[in-house]
């Protein structure tokens, strides 16, 4: 049994315009201490996934069916009280916008020690001490002094450190980090990723990292799920996805990243845009944008399958590379053709380890 198992999760939003199918039979797992990436563009359903895990889906959204098992217990059957003690205690969350995650009218120290006291049943002095330790562990200089500063007295990067400190304060088993570095400058992003990496290793915390940035995933994650229009189109260990992507959408995403030092005159693009989640294209949702689409793609909805065997994927029990494209079930006449170039000097990784990288070119 994995620490977290999500099975056939369906989240719907009932809006005036129609029913938004935010996730469709979504299944995946996260092992203890694992770093799991969820990638996709806006509208792919990645943030809904994390909110569902915390049972924070609000009206007009509902979790229609499925199970979310955390250490074997179905979160969807817990009462509010049980959920509250789980949130922040065993599962913590880090958002993109640190400033709104913090309460502007309490000092950062108070916010951390409040979380600690709530979950760990410590007295005030002990909670304060632990809060200062936590602030120190996330690299806040002069933690004891800054304990009584208010959030607005911190820079964006420092605020995100505070949010991470709050998340860590109760030693959770799983941290859900939703675009934690997107709002930060690149040099600060590097600091925060390094910090997350450090604390995840030190406390053996599992992390579900939600991001649009394939660079961040490559750096940070063990396994990754690429989402498109509310469902995974590819799920695999990170190296497989980067060096041997098996879904045309993954290929398109990778080849549209601007890379320093490549000689391409034009960037590759994926034509069109993410479909409307109310009226999804029939068959394979990606077919209107897919360079390999055939007639069958407009009729048959491809299932997530093991790319080696073509057997239905078992995302909860297996680590195999899986993708949802008819090319892997023999229902496509043509083949997926693209090239993955691994940059580097002669061998890989580059001898000085300084400049090697994978680059995907569509056809």
């Amino acid at each position: 049994m994995a620490m977290l198992e999500v099975e056939d999760l369906n989240v719907r939003f009932y809006t005036d315009d129609g029913v938004v199918k935010a996730t469709n039979d979504l299944s995946y797992r996260i092992e203890a201490g694992e770093r799991f990436g969820v990638v996709g563009e806006s509208g792919a359903g990645k943030s809904v996934t994390s909110l569902a895990l915390m049972r924070l889906i609000d009206e007009p959204g509902v979790i229609e069916s499925g199970e979310i098992r955390f250490k074997g217990q179905n979160l969807l059957e817990m009462n509010e009280e049980e959920m509250r003690s789980l949130r922040g205690n065993e599962i913590a969350m880090i958002f993109q916008d640190a400033e709104t995650a913090l309460n502007p009218s309490y000092t950062v120290g108070e916010q951390i020690s409040e979380a600690i006291r709530y979950h760990l049943d410590l007295d005030e002095a002990a909670a304060r001490e632990r809060a200062i330790e936590t602030l120190e562990s996330v690299g806040i200089p002069s933690a004891a002094e800054r304990y009584s500063d208010y959030p607005h007295e911190f820079s964006g990067g420092m605020q995100q450190r505070v949010v991470i400190a709050i998340a860590l304060s109760c030693d959770p088993d799983l941290i859900i980090a939703d675009e934690p570095t997107t709002a930060l400058d690149v040099t600060i992003e590097a600091q925060i990723l390094e910090l997350l990496e450090e604390v995840a290793t030190e406390f053996d915390t599992a992390i579900q990292l939600i991001t649009h940035d394939l660079g961040v995933v490559a750096e940070f994650c063990d396994r990754v799920m690429v989402m498109y229009a509310g469902h995974p189109v590819e799920m695999a260990p990170v190296e497989d996805v980067y060096y041997n992507p098996q879904h045309p959408y993954t290929v398109g995403l990778m080849s549209s990243i601007p890379r320093i030092g490549d000689d391409r005159d034009r960037l590759q693009t994926i034509p069109g845009r993410m479909p409307d989640l109310i009226e999804m294209p029939p068959g394979c949702n990606f077919h209107p944008r897919c360079p390999y689409a055939e007639e069958s793609c407009t009729r048959v909805d491809p299932q997530l399958v093991d790319v080696e065997t073509g057997d239905p994927a078992d995302p909860i029990n297996s680590d195999a590379q899986t993708a949802a494209c008819l090319a892997h079930t023999g229902e496509l006449t043509g083949e997926l053709e693209y090239e993955v170039t691994v940059r580097g000097e002669d061998d890989f990784p580059g001898p000085d380890g300084a400049s090697s990288s994978a680059e995907v070119t569509d056809r």
């Binding site: 400058d185 040099t187 992003e189 990243i257 320093i260 034009r266 960037l267 034509p271």
Partner: protein, 441 residues
């Protein structure tokens, strides 16, 4: 390029703001200047693109707005087609806006939600008049198609479009007046990667067809590389380095460019390069660091020539000095025991338990004792006075090197004390004899 005069020439541009202050401060004239842009010069040729890159607060967006005179510059000149436009009257400026346009990061907020696309673009056409004998509708249709939108959608409202499509509408509106120059202020930062690439390609196509010059402002070096003929990297209101992408991306580089490049997450799980992690964040422009503004974070900050420092030790001493100046060192948390206290301070400041050079060690210890007594100013001054480095005293000027222009003393043969790293300068000389930096002798 034809002729000697570039399309746009910015000279010594400065934009200062008054800092927020209370009544008493104002009464006593204690207001401080925030130097958002602090003496910036560059040129853009017809049909070419200058990428302007830097982290938040470096002044890049202020430059874009100052060039268009949307913000009045504090000092400096902006020559457009040879004419200094900082001296123009309002009506002359209005005419000029036909030739200079801007597109923004969030097209949502810059497009009137109550107007149809037809009206949004039509409005721009009306203000500036249509040339030739095409009808207004034909021109709108042409513009929409040019930016890759379906002309039959002209009667829709902004909310009916996606982010990428809205950016296309913003571009069509800018094109309506047939400009020669467009400021693109983070035009793709809010878009998904695949859409980002579409917009970048579109901007490049338009440049090829119409010969428009761009000032392309971005926080992401990898985005500008594809579109820029020249790139300027900014730090705290100043240009740190400027050159073609080839010049910029190949070492030797300004230490800040080097760090920015190395911080971009590499989409390759087995990438094994060394990441340069800068400490701290960009200092406040209200009271910026002396000398080179990057010295509070620079990993290569030049050590004093008469002491022997490992580069990392020296970086830690510099950070110690900076934090003493900011009084940002917590003291009271470490008990009364003197030894324990200095040890805890060293730990907090990332200083090794003893420095390589015993002389330097003595000085640092003295400074630590001052800090223990909360005499921050004393600590700062002993460090400042004993350890001299050009990085904190002299402001580096942009100097031409083999590869672009760089504002860093490491590239200046006048300072001989830099660490040896094959840093080449004008005449091909190598600066730095390495005596100060290497710890292995």
């Amino acid at each position: 390029m034809s002729g000697s005069e570039p399309l746009l020439r910015v000279e010594g541009l400065e934009k200062y703001y008054e800092s927020e202050s209370d009544f008493i401060d104002r009464l006593l004239g204690r207001q401080k200047k925030v130097k958002a842009v602090d003496g910036v010069s560059f040129e853009i040729n017809e049909g070419e693109t200058l990428g302007l890159v830097g982290e938040s607060g470096c002044g890049k967006s202020t430059i874009g707005r100052s060039i268009l005179q949307l913000r009045e510059p504090t000092a400096g000149s902006v020559y457009f087609k040879g004419q200094d436009i900082t001296t123009l009257s309002d009506s002359e400026l209005r005419d000029l806006r036909k030739e200079m346009q801007i597109i923004f990061q969030n097209p949502q907020s810059s497009l009137n939600p109550r107007l149809t696309v037809n009206d949004i673009i039509g409005e721009a056409l009306d203000i500036h008049g249509i040339e030739g004998d095409v009808t207004r509708d034909a021109r709108i249709k042409d513009l929409l198609e040019r930016v890759g939108l379906n002309a039959s959608h002209a009667n829709r409202y902004p909310h009916e479009f996606s982010g990428g499509q809205l950016q296309r509408i913003g571009i069509a509106r800018a094109l309506a007046v047939d400009p020669d120059f467009i400021v693109c202020d983070e035009p793709v930062s809010a878009l998904d990667v695949s859409v980002q690439a579409q917009i970048l390609n579109l901007l490049e196509d338009l440049q090829d067809e119409l010969g428009i010059a761009y000032l392309f402002i971005a926080h992401d070096l990898s985005v500008v590389e594809h579109i820029a003929d020249e790139i300027a990297v900014m730090y705290l209101g100043k240009i740190a380095e400027i050159g073609t992408p080839e010049e910029l991306f190949v070492p030797p580089q300004h230490p800040y460019t080097e760090a920015l490049l190395s911080a971009i997450p590499e989409p390759d799980p087995l990438w094994e390069g060394d990441r340069i992690l800068l400490e701290g964040s960009v200092p406040s422009p209200i009271d910026p660091p002396s000398g080179c503004k990057f010295h509070t974070r620079c990993p290569r900050v030049i050590p004093p020539s008469d002491y022997e420092f490992e580069q990392e030790e020296w970086r830690a001493v510099m950070s110690f000095r900076h934090r003493a100046r900011e009084e940002d060192i917590a003291v009271e948390t470490f008990g009364d025991d003197d030894d324990a206290l200095t040890e805890a301070l060293r730990d907090e400041l990332d200083l090794p338990s003893s420095l390589t050079d015993p002389e330097a060690e003595r000085v640092v210890e003295e400074a630590l004792r001052s800090v223990a007594d909360e005499e921050f100013a004393a600590a700062e001054s002993v460090l400042r006075e004993t350890f001299e480095t050009p990085c904190t005293t002299d402001e580096p000027a942009l100097r031409r090197t083999d590869a672009g222009r760089v504002a860093c003393h490491l590239f200046d043969p006048a300072y001989e004390s830099g660490p040896t790293d094959g840093t080449r300068t004008d005449d091909g000389a190598v600066t730095g004899d390495g005596a100060a930096a290497s710890g292995d002798d």
